[in-house]
């Protein structure tokens, strides 16, 4: 893969990488570090990617590992909240994001990757190193929890 082709694919993926970082890491600086480390690792180990069709799966896998490492580095005490500034605009769909962030990670990631990022179950299974059956059951439980939190059907149809 050429550098230009690699860069093009990463830029295409960057909104998705941002959303994944957003739910995985609380601090903007940590997210930026994580995406940089992900890009660096992906480029350095690009020869390990045997089929470029699976680049997205592979990059997401790297990103989740990097985020996991970043969280462990951050130590056991984390700042939980910073108050919103007065007059901060809250997105219309903010409660959805809030509910998603409140889901345990084991439910959140399959739901985020499948329903929000559009990956099929096989891809999610590869990204998370989980059997497809486990992915499906976690998505079902996660949907139920979201439904409970939002008092509304989610991902219908």
């Amino acid at each position: 893969m050429t550098k230009d082709e690699f860069a093009r694919r990463i830029l295409e993926m960057s909104p998705m990488l941002y959303r994944l970082c957003y739910t995985q890491l609380s601090q903007p600086a940590d997210r930026e570090d994580a995406v940089q480390e992900t890009v660096r690792r992906a480029w350095e180990h690009r020869d390990k990617l045997r089929d470029e069709r699976y680049m997205q799966t592979w990059v997401v896998r790297i990103l989740l590992n990097v985020c996991d490492t970043q969280r462990r580095k951050n130590g056991r005490l984390l700042p939980v909240e910073v108050l919103p500034e007065q007059g901060t605009e809250v997105a219309e769909n903010a409660p959805l994001l809030e509910a998603l962030c409140m889901l345990e990670e084991k439910y959140r990631l399959p739901i985020q990757l499948h329903y929000i990022e559009g990956c099929d179950v096989a891809e999610v299974s590869a990204m998370l190193h989980l059997p497809q059956g486990t992915v499906k059951s976690r998505m079902a439980r996660g949907r139920a929890r979201l439904r409970e939190m939002l008092k509304s059907e989610v991902f219908e149809g």
Partner: protein, 378 residues
């Protein structure tokens, strides 16, 4: 709700993240070089090691000092504990940062910087201020002028944003200063230099020496640019490595012994500890939210607990002597215990009881509050 509804709920990719991706892609040809995010070509990185002796002395750099910022909310002997740091500087091409004073007492970290512009045509703006803000934000005799009117009146042709903060990317700060977040205040001096005061409180900072890597930054201002100054790609940065010796300031402690339920805000107060020092009175609140799921490793960004102590006039002291408690809610992943730490004006005595108000904030316009009495037995 569909996947698109959820996608739309995410904020638009911020400029810092976009720059980080572009920088990483730019760097991938340089495989042997470490990736450095947000450091512009013109950035300057200077490290200075500052060893603090525990000898107390008055600041001699001039201008405001820590005791001025405390505005009489500390006891006079606090001044003897503040350590002079004259001469330790961090330089960028736009501004010079000189550390003036520092104090670390195991619960709080405080420091003051003098900041001077290197370009006589540029007026220094502390991060968070804009030219349209009142000058009284920066100096007491600001009359009714705005910062912009004042700067224009003195013939300045432009602005330079300046600020100092903990370097969250630094490995030095991992473990030693988890969760430490500084509040910054600024004072405009007669010669238009700035004095910045940084104050932070946190639990479990440890004993003995605290090592912190601070990042000082300066950036030319594009007033149409709304991103915060730290995220500007053009920010010039210089770092200071501080080794702060702990000064024992604690005079007395009082601890509540009864748990208190607060159903309206969904939590149980496990205990409150008051810690009396000449600089401030810290209050540490250990609590358990009813709904454990509110913390799962990710941070909820638009929901928060806010703690405040109600004073004798029935008003809540949200922003007290040295720091704002609202940013200091912590959770211990291992025990599940939540902790908030805040400050009150220093006092010669500790109270037998206090009124603690807790608010839960779903969004900026939806607050639910509950006030309880916390008693401290002898």
């Amino acid at each position: 709700m569909t996947g698109k509804n959820f996608r739309d709920a995410f904020p638009i990719m911020d400029e810092g993240f976009r720059c980080a991706v572009l920088q990483a892609l730019e760097d991938i040809g340089k495989e042997r070089e470490p990736v450095k995010r947000k450091i512009s070509v013109g950035a300057v990185l200077v490290a200075a090691i500052v060893m603090l002796a525990a000898v107390a002395a008055a600041a001699v750099v001039g201008g405001w000092g820590m005791m001025d910022f405390l505005e009489g909310k500390s006891l006079p002997e606090a001044g003897e504990m503040i350590q002079s740091m004259e001469g330790q500087t961090a330089e960028t091409e736009l501004a010079t940062f000189t550390l003036k004073e520092a104090l670390y007492d195991g619960y709080g970290v405080y420091m003051t910087f003098s900041v001077r512009s290197k370009d006589p045509t540029k007026f220094l703006l502390p991060g968070g201020q804009i030219p349209g803000n009142k000058l009284s934000n920066l100096k007491e005799d600001g009359a009714d002028l705005t910062i912009g009117e004042y700067a224009e009146g003195k013939g300045y042709e432009g602005y330079t944003y300046v600020g100092a903060e903990i370097d969250y990317k630094s490995e030095v700060n991992r473990g030693s200063a988890d969760g430490l977040m500084f509040n910054t205040r600024a004072h405009l001096e007669e010669d238009d230099s700035l004095t910045l005061m940084l104050a932070a409180v946190a639990s479990d900072l440890g004993e003995g020496q605290l090592t912190l890597q601070m990042m000082c930054g300066a950036s030319d201002v594009n007033l149409t640019d709304t991103i915060v100054w730290q995220d500007r790609p053009s920010v010039q940065k210089a770092s200071l490595l501080l080794k702060l010796q702990k000064t024992d300031t604690v005079r007395r402690e009082r601890i509540s012994r009864e748990t208190v339920d607060m159903p309206a805000v969904g939590m149980t107060i496990q205990r409150v500890r008051l810690i009396q020092t000449p600089l401030t009175t810290y209050y540490e609140v250990d609590y358990t939210p009813y709904e454990k799921f509110v913390y799962n490793g990710s941070i909820r960004r638009n929901k928060a607990y806010l703690f405040g102590v109600v004073n004798g006039e029935g008003k809540v002291v949200y922003r007290s002597a040295v720091a704002n408690i609202s940013s200091m809610c912590m959770v211990d992943r291992e025990t599940g215990m939540w902790r908030a730490l805040g400050t009150l004006p220093a006092s010669e005595t500790l109270p037998d009881e206090l009124q603690l108000r807790v608010s839960i904030i779903d969004d900026p316009s939806n607050w639910t509050s509950e006030t309880v009495t916390i008693r401290f037995p002898e």
